[in-house]
């Protein structure tokens, strides 16, 4: 029994590894962008399965939520915008040709057959393009360096995990991953939150007014889904945040789940003006703010940056994580709805309609 289970596990892992490789190859060579995105999402889900097999449940959760879910949704939105922009370009060109009543001179492949054709063309003349050749060589060199680094790594030792487990009693939490992220290596996480905030600032500076996608009013059934799922999503996010103390979970996973709720609202074209909302900037910044405040307070009281007093460590970690959850969710939603392309500009005379908080499209 034990033996056959072992063989089954090896077979499962082998198939999983093979599926990952095939999916990665297929998504890279797919000329159809939509197909590539769908393959990317499946790749992310398979990768999270692989993390589960490696017993890294925390990473599996993050990969499924952020890698497959949010990034996939972000790609789909980007593709939608690309296609709408292409359509707009084509219409503009048609109009120009009609007004000039001339035979078209500029027929760019990009607008005629879409990005897919461009990619196919690039593939055929791969080495005739110096830029691509340089990029390919750099990527190959990087892969070789990374491979060499992994190969020459010292053999796996249990020293680190022994060090972590011997220090678990003073960490304030029971999940070693949370202990490392928020206590032993809290500095790294502080910087990560800072990087996320920087990303949000970048998006805000490029697209200052985040207007939700306009278009046809959302289907009542989609609104029903939001009504059913949104409270559930908020509850699950809080649960994942709380459970991080004892088991896989924590701020990043909880934030990703919360962001999924916000993105659900965005896809339903429920219009709320983010730039007018005072809560959004606050939520974006609060994670880093609280983290820095705790860091300063611990420096003044305990003498060292982020050295929590043992009795308070659990509480402090929960406070930091709660604030970080809000910030992570806000940043992720902001990335999703903040990118405003020129095709999103409503036609003149329509803009007053779009900016108004429309009562019938909001959830009651």
């Amino acid at each position: 029994m034990e033996n056959s289970l072992n063989y089954a596990a090896i077979a499962f892992d082998g198939v999983l590894a093979l599926v990952l490789l095939v999916l990665a190859w297929q998504l890279l060579r797919s000329p159809n962008l939509f197909k590539a995105i769908v393959l990317f999402i499946s790749f992310g889900l398979m990768l999270s399965l692989a993390w589960i097999r490696l017993k890294a449940i925390d990473i599996a959760l993050a990969e499924a939520a952020i890698g497959a879910g949010l990034t996939g949704a972000l790609f789909l939105t980007a593709l939608d915008r690309l296609q709408r922009r292409e359509e707009n370009d084509r219409e503009e060109q048609d109009a120009r040709w009609k007004s000039q009543e001339k035979k078209p001179i500029i027929t760019t492949e990009a607008s005629d057959q879409g990005l897919a054709a461009m990619i196919r063309k690039n593939k055929n003349h791969f080495f005739s393009r110096p830029l691509q050749t340089i990029a390919a060589i750099s990527v190959l060199a990087l892969t070789c360096i990374l491979g060499w680094t992994v190969w020459t790594l010292p053999p796996f030792s249990d020293q680190m995990s022994a060090l972590v487990s011997s220090n678990m009693p003073i960490s304030g939490v029971e999940n070693p991953v949370t202990a490392v992220l928020l206590n032993f290596r809290g500095y790294d996480t502080l910087l990560e939150i800072g990087v996320l905030l920087l990303a949000a600032v970048g998006v805000i500076s490029v697209a200052p007014s985040a207007v939700m996608r306009t278009g046809s009013s959302p289907s009542p059934i989609l609104l029903l889904l939001i009504r059913l799922l949104l409270p559930f999503i908020i509850l699950v996010s809080g649960y994942i945040l709380w459970i991080g103390k004892y088991a896989p979970g924590g701020a990043f996973q909880a934030g990703a789940v919360l962001a999924a709720g916000g993105i659900l609202l965005a896809t339903a074209a429920v219009r709320f003006n983010l730039s007018a909302s005072k809560a959004m900037p606050l939520a974006t910044g609060i994670g880093l703010l609280i983290f820095l405040l705790v860091a300063l307070a611990t420096m003044i009281i305990c003498g060292n940056y982020l050295q929590y007093p043992v009795a308070l460590a659990g509480t402090l970690i929960l406070v930091i994580e709660a604030a970080a959850t809000l910030s992570i969710a806000a940043v992720l939603v902001r990335l999703f709805v903040g990118v405003k392309s020129d095709t999103d500009n409503p036609a003149p005379g329509e803009d007053s309609q779009t900016l108004i908080f429309e009562e019938e499209n909001t959830i009651k």
Partner: protein, 100 residues
């Protein structure tokens, strides 16, 4: 292996044909509407069987409740996304497949 474990394994194994059928339908059916039909119907039932089997095999009742909630969430999400995809296809005037 206790009786509940055996029953749980049986239910999970019973789910395989449903997932198999759903995937086969997704690959082989002629148009978007029939494919959606195969995918949502068969896979929801298959997942239900996997969840039922896992509930029987779970040691704590809280795990069972969580599994049940996951199934319900998937049911709601897949039903509504099925409707949304089919409706989007209908709006794009994709005609349902007819026997030629």
């Amino acid at each position: 292996m206790s009786l509940t474990d055996l029953l749980g394994t049986f239910l999970i194994v019973l789910a395989i044909p449903f997932f198999w059928g759903g995937s086969l339908g997704l690959l082989r059916f002629p148009d978007i509407y029939t494919r959606l039909h195969a995918l949502t119907k068969a896979d929801n039932l298959g997942l239900g069987l996997v969840v039922a089997g896992s509930i029987l095999m779970s040691k704590e009742w809280t795990v069972g409740v969580k599994l049940l909630l996951i199934w319900l969430a998937v049911l709601v999400a897949s039903t509504i996304s099925c409707y949304l995809i089919a409706n989007a296809a209908r709006k794009r005037k994709i005609n349902p497949w007819k026997i030629p």
